[in-house]
Symmetry: C2
């Protein structure tokens, strides 16, 4: 199968290539597209050395599968046209996620929404990590309200975000000087920034509203009350989430643990006696979302539950989920 990664030099693009390799995706030819600046450079991949090309519609139009890890503007300009040419397209941007004719998919939750669609949107990283845990809890207990506070890694701002965190942490520790910032709105080392993406008229950030809007769409619960506080913290590539839910039917920690122990895409990491709980340290590089710290929250009587999640932002939050979508698109070489 002819597979192209568009945005191949970014953090998500690189991870897409790795995930295709790890999952033994049936790639017969891999094409890597990036900006003119990177064109001509060679990249080692699990499918051999590939020379990066500047994106061009003609070459992309001959692909069987295009994985887009570029801007929303690019997706708006090219995604539908590529799909119309018969290319299966998975778009990682937020541009098309809420369009009625574009399914927004986390395969463990709503693989059925893919159907015969040739263009599928990959959700926001925080949302993807959240819904793999929420969906089985909804099936078992019914969701009435969801409140989420996030601990989001630098990788959400791409490779540049990770590089800035590392370089500026060095500056603080070695030179003792104040950290500089270009990627983030403020210095990130030893700081937290309660601001991801742009502010909306209602006071929430777009990142926070993406969690609201996308959770509702993926779970098929358009009226689900969800509130999110999205916070950038100095970690590299795992998003953590403190989640409080109110359920429709009574819930206990034990029952929730039993549900999550069986849930696809979730790894139950919840043994406080041996200090096991989700952490970026252990979730880094892992496919499954770690779920733990599961406890009955008496704020909602017998209908409340608190839990803590950690998911690799570049894997389930981006590249892994995109490839999992592609695996469900019923592709065959043209």
């Amino acid at each position: 199968m002819r597979v192209g990664v568009i945005g191949a030099t970014g953090a998500v693009g690189k991870e897409l290539v790795e995930v295709l390799g790890k999952r033994r995706f049936p790639v017969t030819e891999l094409k890597l597209f990036a900006s003119a600046r990177s064109a001509g450079t060679r990249q080692n991949t699990p499918f051999g050395e590939v020379t990066i090309e500047e994106y061009n519609d003609a070459a992309a139009g001959r692909l069987d599968l295009a994985l887009l890890a570029v801007s929303g503007d690019f997706a708006k300009a090219h995604a539908r046209a590529l799909a119309a040419k018969g290319v299966a397209v998975v778009d990682n941007s937020s541009a098309l996620r809420l369009e009625d004719d574009v399914p927004l998919v986390v395969p463990e939750v709503n693989a059925g929404a893919i159907g015969r669609h040739r263009l599928v949107a990959n959700p926001n990283c925080t949302t993807a990590i959240l819904v793999v845990a929420l969906a089985p809890l909804h099936a078992a207990f019914g969701l009435k309200r969801v409140i989420v506070s996030t601990y989001q890694a630098a990788s959400g701002a791409g490779a540049e975000g990770m590089a800035e965190l590392e370089a500026e942490t060095r500056r603080v520790l070695l030179e003792g000087g104040p950290a500089r910032h270009a990627v983030f709105a403020h210095p990130l080392p030893f700081n937290v920034i309660p601001h991801i993406d742009t502010f909306q008229p209602n006071g929430y950030t777009r990142e926070e509203m993406k969690v609201v809007w996308e959770t509702r769409k993926i779970m098929g619960l358009p009226g689900l009350p969800v509130s999110c506080t999205a916070v950038r913290i100095p970690t590299f590539r795992v998003h953590a989430e403190a989640v409080t839910i109110e359920t429709e039917r009574p819930v206990t920690a034990e029952a929730a643990r039993a549900v999550l122990a069986q849930a696809a895409g979730v790894k139950l990491v919840d043994d406080t006696a041996t200090l096991l709980y989700p952490m970026p340290l252990t979730a880094t590089g892992q496919d499954d979302v770690e779920a733990g710290r599961i406890r009955a929250n008496d704020v909602f009587g017998e209908f409340g539950l608190d839990l803590f999640l950690c998911g690799d932002q570049l894997l389930k939050g981006a590249a892994l989920n995109a490839v999992q979508i592609a695996e469900r698109m019923g592709l065959s070489s043209r």
Copy 2:
């Protein structure tokens, strides 16, 4: 006034001495007590050079004011006896906070509870930072439910915690090796640890339950439903808190902002247009708790509010609040 700091070499103890100086506390004689290991060393203070002494009951019993920044065991063994000798005692440990005969005080909230008590408990750091914002919101709108997720700094584990975060971050960046840990349950650099203090039978940590128990006591709301997820993150000395409340009476972001703009001990930092919101970077070394990201949370209809707080863990979370309590104790030299 003869003032003693017990536990003078710790992070909170050092800060207590600084705060006494900054607030021009009427100190005529300052005594610094620590373990035998530190006894005999000299420390520069705003009140001149002081030689650290090993704690002894006789010397402490002659004080007008004793500020305890040591363990709960020490407080249990000595605090009541000192108070019985006529020493005004402010205890920073958790040992006596829930005792019926010991007021637990955040002066902006319940200074009246001090009365003629000679022994007053200083609350948990996360709680103190939380209630200065919750109390005025309760007065204006009535609190029905409180849900808090914390982003807690290394200083909550004392000077050793801060030193471990710095040393181990250096190790990761310079040697590329894995971080070691002795103070924290797991390595803290570039990680988050959803575990502070010991686990309780209900699955919550003691730190999380302290927020529940102490918030109720300080606010005089014994039945207030509160849930907390307490998370250690790689910051040095400011705790951040994402707070969701349900109110008894309708609340808007604008009305809540007006309330917090007037609240003692709170600094409203909430102008998203100019990227102003609470952050450890700006709250470090500040007396006031920063409050911002205030927005109506439709998870609770017209009764929901989200906000974000940052407070210096060593100041409002510990030393500042202790000295503020002492200022209200109606002390005079004996």
